[in-house]
Point group: C2
Chain length 72, copies 2
């Protein structure tokens, strides 16, 4: 899978789960203890996210890290 | 899960799969197109790996990204 594709599919998955949880990007950023604009950049595949931040987002969305990669 | 714990469990999983594939750290680094010492640092939980490099390691180990997070 190309670099862009993996970031894109990850961003789409985060957006899907965020909306499922009824959270705004700001609310998810706050819950995950990440900068306010960070979630937007992840969802637009503009950042190459690190494992520690992947774990923070999974925890904030109440899913496992594996769940964030369903389908990839 | 704490920062250290997620890096540690990821590193252990990479080591487990690398050995299962009969690869040395150098061979896996080469296959994944990563610096020679990088795999060692990941296995010792010394680096906060990025998603693009997670995907490179998964491809080099012939597994999905999800497989790298079995059990986490």
């Amino acid at each position: 899978m190309s670099k862009e594709k993996i970031l894109k599919s990850f961003g789409e998955r985060v957006r899907e789960l965020r909306k499922k949880n009824g959270l705004s990007q700001d609310e998810l950023s706050f819950k995950a203890n990440l900068h306010r604009t960070y979630i937007g950049m992840i969802e637009r595949a503009e950042k190459n996210i690190t494992l520690i931040n992947i774990e923070k987002i999974a925890a904030a969305l109440n899913v496992t890290i594996k769940d964030l990669f369903n389908g990839s």
